[in-house]
């Protein structure tokens, strides 16, 4: 039971990170119907930018707690802004010129962009792992082990709390942004009918760009969270995390925001429980198999709308 509880906590944490990345996939798919294959690498870029700022500002666990939180918020904002520029640039260079081209063209440029980003970071930052000392050590102990080492100690670390809280806050804020603001309205309008939206005076290109910008900003938050949680990153983390987050988006129903969050949580839980109870080596196989199974048997996902094919 204790083991289960610990896995549950870890799974929810991991799932929050996947959920944040999945939002980027799902929004882009919703608005222009393409898989932004480079999104996982945008997440990786976000993690690197956050890491560089953390090291540059000399943020360590020894800072007073208030200062530490302030500094982390500053890092978060700066890296969100810079990662957003990356997201914007990728859209501008690789996707916008192909708008209206055949459906697979942007997918192929997206693969190219993904390869280019990965190798760019590998060259500029080096291929070695970047380890970071834990910034937020400690946590709550939920159940104590017995005096002789029996029983299982369940820990809820502060960094896990931080990840879950930040993710929840962002998701609430984000849902409000989409449902209440004029930008969100414009976005939903473009999603339904791009031509009509542009006839009604919505700048479609700008709206699409902003979608990429928001997706990238959320991915950079996920990057920082990943960094805080695992404490080590390299240039290759984007590929796996990207495919898993895409799986999450598909599982939840692509195009649906609550679906992306739900899917992220489920994928995180499945992956953690799989590694906890079966085998760590095959946890990626589990995620990939779920992707295939969901697509084959339930292509509209859990919360998505079935797509209508028109001739």
């Amino acid at each position: 039971m204790e083991y289960f509880l610990q896995q549950l906590i870890n799974g929810v944490t991991l799932g929050s990170i996947y959920g944040l990345i999945a939002i980027g996939y799902t929004m882009v798919y919703g608005i222009i119907g393409m898989i932004n294959f480079a999104h996982g690498d945008i997440f990786m870029v976000g993690a690197f930018i956050a890491l560089i700022f953390i090291v540059t500002f000399g943020i360590t666990a020894s800072l007073p707690i208030a200062l530490l939180i302030l500094a982390l918020i500053a890092v978060l904002i700066v890296s969100m802004a810079l990662t957003a520029v990356w997201g914007w640039t990728v859209e501008r260079i690789a996707y916008r010129p192909l708008r209206g081209s055949f459906r697979l063209a942007p997918l192929i440029t997206a693969i190219g962009a993904s390869i280019a980003l990965q190798n760019f970071v590998q060259i500029s930052q080096g291929a070695r792992n970047k380890p970071l000392q834990p910034l937020i050590p400690g946590g709550f102990t939920l159940t104590e082990g017995g005096p002789n080492g029996e029983g299982f100690i369940v820990q809820l670390s502060y960094s896990q709390i931080l990840i879950i809280v930040v993710t929840t806050a962002l998701m609430i804020g984000f849902t409000l942004l989409i449902s209440k603001t004029s930008l969100g309205r414009a976005q939903r309008a473009c999603e339904q009918d791009r031509k009509m939206a542009s006839l009604l005076g919505i700048n479609v290109d700008r709206t699409i760009s902003l979608t990429f910008v928001m997706g990238a900003a959320l991915a950079s938050v996920a990057g920082l969270m990943f960094l805080l949680y695992y404490g080590v990153i390299d240039f290759y983390i984007g590929f796996l995390a990207g495919v898993k987050a895409f799986t999450a988006a598909v599982l939840g129903g692509i195009g649906s925001l609550p679906g992306a969050m739900l899917g992220g949580l489920l994928i995180g839980l499945i992956e953690t429980f799989w590694s906890g109870y079966f085998s760590v080596e095959y946890k990626d196989v589990a995620a990939f198999s779920i992707l295939a199974i969901v697509l084959i048997f339930m292509p509209e996902g859990l919360l998505g709308k079935p797509e209508v094919e028109k001739v």
């Binding site: 810079l82 055949f102 697979l104 997918l107 390869i115 760019f120 590929f239 990626d284 990939f288 084959i296």
Partner: protein
Amino acid sequence: MSAKSGNLFIDSLKDAAIGGLIALALFSVLIGMKAEVASGLGGQLGIEYRWGAVAIAVAVVFAGRLLLNLFVWKAGTPVTQTAGRLIPSTQTLAPLAKYAMPVFLVLAVILPFLLMSAYGSRGSRQYLDLAILVTTYVMLGWGLNIVVGLAGLLDLGYVAFYAVGAYSYALLAEYFGFSFWICLPLAGILAAFWGIILGFPVLRLRGDYLAIVTLAFGEIIRIVLLNWYDFTGGPDGISGIPRPSFFGIEFNRGEGGFADTFGLEYSSIHRIIFLYYVILAMALITNFVTMRLRKLPVGRAWEALREDEIACRSLGINTTNTKLTAFALGAMFGGFAGSFFATRQGFISPESFTFIESAVILAIVVLGGLGSQIGVVIAAVVMIGGFEFFRGLEEYRMLVFGLLMVIIMVWKPRGLISTRTPSITLSGKKAKGISADLVQEGHG
């Protein structure tokens, strides 16, 4: 006139300045500051500043954008247009293309002797190795071309079938001692079998979903090969894979070897030349089968499927079976190429079958012009040759590869080298070049 050109210059300058600023935002952190584990700090990360590199990168973006603005994008008569006139168009090249194939073929057949006479048997070895590599990719490209170019299904996990072929041969040889020539058909059949197993459930999916599922499948195969230590050797791979023999005659020194039997002086180059002809023959068979299949009903159905799936279904074509045959055939040729790869290397490990490999093969097909056989050859020669040529710049070539994939796709979505017209069209209608936009999702 002068006012206009003044405006042009100022506009271009402004635009370039904005580009430079964005480049500054992009590069200042990722290039300018390198997080590196410093030696003196006990495993802690330190920052190495490189503002010079940032300045260079920003200057390149600024200058590049300024020049492009002035001469291409905003200019009245873009330079590219002028330059385009110097290069003959595809139409004028069309008669040449008819001769290109035989010329390539003859060149490919006599290549080893050309190289031998030019560099001697020792010096030509590296060129022959490169030729074998390029031909392997040509074969893979032709195999994938059936799936992507003819049937219009985007397969991002093609390397999985390559891996299945390679491991089939290696494992059959290791456990049962089968020879290359017995394993070659088996490997192809096994790969085709896997293609059917995978294809059966996923071919109902729409194009981009199909792409992701095939990608996932490719990764699953690789992870299984990596972790099934007892059977596949895991990350250590399989070594000591037997080499092919020449109709039972081994390429050995001494009694009964190839050189001895034919009264030649022993040289290790014989085996290399033999391998070259094996892969060349295999590639040509792939091409021959593809060309023939295109004339059969199933080939027609592939092309029809690529053009319009809904129309196909309305006409009573069984789309699932049609897609499945394309998938299985493509997989089979991938499997053949894979077992050749295993026998040539003598050693295989999961490292050789990563997603990047799939991307390279796909890039060869896409850049060569979807569905074009000769385009694949040219793209493979240029790309793999380029990879080898820039081997010294190991780090940068993948970056350039990714960038080129984006640039070429944006510039010429129909493929850089050639496009292919449908094998058959309604009489009287002029055949349009098949643009890549016809390779698209199968509406499931």
